[in-house]
């Protein structure tokens, strides 16, 4: 089959566009979930908070001022068709250049430090980004940019559960992680859950789960039910908007699964704040 040539500079341009859009245009599924949250919230303080969040989304969209000052770590997922031949600057350089341009042009915050544990000096251009590449069939390149805030990322967790812990063990781990997070990750949150695979695979599954639309469900009805039950349990904790008490702690629970080793049952919870920001483009 003929190869399709894609110059990586096109990926740079797309990412520069997606960075601005992610920070200022919250998706309709999210706005819908927040409005539904406002309808069911019983706490007066909680209602007031949800109203402010919805008003903030409107101001951000109209004024192009980022909805949140934490415009995130740029986590970039690339699905590259195996019939694509990439030419131009090295892929990682092209991705980072797109993030650099997008964050500069759109006046987004530069939140990355060069060294994690010693100097912690700001790189001043929000790079490097986190890049996940996957080779898939076809001749397209799919780019997904997730702008991931630090506050919610800090509240995420991985557990190497035992097979004997079963589905109850997973439920307890997820709910305990959300309880421990309390108001820190800016509830109402979105909870990405990865079950199975290996230590790193379940974390990636949890992160990828957060890219799914709110209201979507796992294709296996048993796990779809787990998503519904976990959402109900999390919303029964009383944590509420911003952790100040209320009914609406999470807007959705999204579970992804993968086969695993006979000895293992890894599980990961990746928490996202209510400003779940991700945008995609296909080349």
């Amino acid at each position: 089959m003929a190869k399709r040539i894609v110059n990586t500079s096109v990926i740079t341009e797309k990412l520069a566009e997606l960075s601005g859009a992610a920070s200022c245009e919250l998706d309709e599924d999210l706005i819908g979930a927040l409005k539904e949250g406002l309808r069911v919230e019983e706490s007066p303080v909680g209602k007031q908070i949800l109203e402010q969040i919805l008003e903030n989304a409107k101001i951000s969209r109209e004024s192009r001022l980022p909805s949140c000052q934490d415009t995130g770590f740029a986590v970039v997922f690339l699905e590259i068709g195996q019939d694509v031949c990439l030419e131009g600057p090295a892929l990682a350089d092209a991705v980072n250049e797109g993030v650099r341009r997008g964050y500069e042009k759109n006046y987004l915050r530069k939140s990355i430090v060069d060294d994690p544990a010693i100097t912690r000096k700001n790189t001043r251009d929000n790079t490097p980004s986190i890049i996940h590449t996957e080779i898939v069939s076809g001749d397209r390149v799919k780019i997904v940019l997730a702008a991931k805030g630090g506050g919610s990322e800090n509240m995420s967790a991985v557990a190497m559960l035992k097979p004997a812990d079963g589905i109850q063990g997973v439920r307890k781990f997820v709910v305990d992680t959300v309880k421990r997070a309390g108001g820190n990750p800016c509830p109402p949150i979105i909870v990405g859950v990865g079950i199975g695979g290996t230590f790193e695979k379940c974390a990636l599954l949890a992160k990828k789960a957060l890219l799914r639309p709110l209201g979507s469900h796992h294709p296996d009805e048993r796990y779809a039910n787990l998503e519904r039950e976990l959402l109900a349990e999390i919303n029964a904790t009383g944590i509420g908007p911003q952790g100040l008490g209320g009914r609406v702690t999470a807007l959705g629970v999204l579970v992804e699964t993968f086969p695993c080793h006979i000895a293992s049952m890894p599980a990961a919870v990746n928490i996202n704040c209510h400003a779940s920001r991700h945008k995609e483009a296909i080349i």
């Binding site: 019983e42 706490s43 303080v45 007031q48 908070i49 402010q52 969040i53 008003e55 903030n56 101001i59 951000s60 004024s63 001022l65 980022p66 909805s67 949140c68 000052q69 934490d70 415009t71 006046y107 987004l108 915050r109 530069k110 939140s111 912690r120 700001n122 001043r124 630090g150 506050g151 800090n154 439920r171 307890k172 709910v175 309390g182 108001g183 820190n184 990750p185 800016c186 349990e233 029964a236 904790t237 009383g238 944590i239 509420g240 911003q242 952790g243 100040l244 008490g245 209320g246 009914r247 704040c273 209510h274 400003a275």
Partner: protein, 184 residues
């Protein structure tokens, strides 16, 4: 909705209770992780801070860059807990108020009770809305820290909620208890 002015006095701090919805007008300072580390290092060496802490409010925030012709970028709160190792020392040196998001730990609560200080929650992720309350913005220290520089902001009717008061009242505990239906 209570209206208060910043900087704060002891009598204002004493009048606030967890759960109160408050509008703040006046002068506040921004500061987050890296600035707190530097300020506490200065205090431990007995040196002067870049601004006088007496009666002040520190807002845990690092805004997006200001666009041309505007006052400030998006400017919502960051997670306060990361400042907990530093906050008691600043409170001891006169800090009266903190604005952020998320619960504080016991050493901060104890310092708030002992030295009369208050912790306000602003709505995390509402940075564009909060920017409308900011009327002026000037960097006063640590410009090289970029988003983590210390800024002085003039705010009008900045909407916050008293989350933890100077009597140990805690909306994170009381609010969650009120709405919890957990079986787990």
């Amino acid at each position: 909705m209570k209206k208060i002015s910043a900087p704060l006095t002891d009598s204002v701090v004493e009048s606030l209770r967890a759960g109160d919805e408050v509008l703040i007008t006046g002068i506040i300072y921004t500061g987050r992780d890296a600035a707190h580390k530097r300020m506490v290092e200065l205090l431990s060496k007995g040196e002067q801070l870049p601004f006088d802490l007496k009666g002040q409010i520190i807002y845990y925030a690092g805004p997006t860059p200001t666009r041309p012709g505007e006052v400030v970028g998006s400017v919502g709160p960051t997670t306060s807990g990361r400042m907990d190792p530093y906050a008691p020392i600043l409170i001891q040196h006169g800090l009266k108020g903190m604005i952020g998001k998320g619960q504080r730990t016991q050493p901060v609560v104890e310092a708030m009770k002992k030295f009369k200080a208050v912790y306000f929650a602003a709505v995390g992720g509402a940075g564009a809305l909060i920017a409308r309350a900011v009327k002026s913005n000037k960097t006063v220290a640590y410009e090289e820290l970029g988003p983590e520089a210390v800024r002085v902001l003039e705010v009008v009717d900045f909407p916050v909620i008293v989350a933890q008061d100077c009597y140990g009242g805690d909306l994170y505990v009381e609010g969650i208890k009120k709405y919890s239906r957990s079986a787990l």
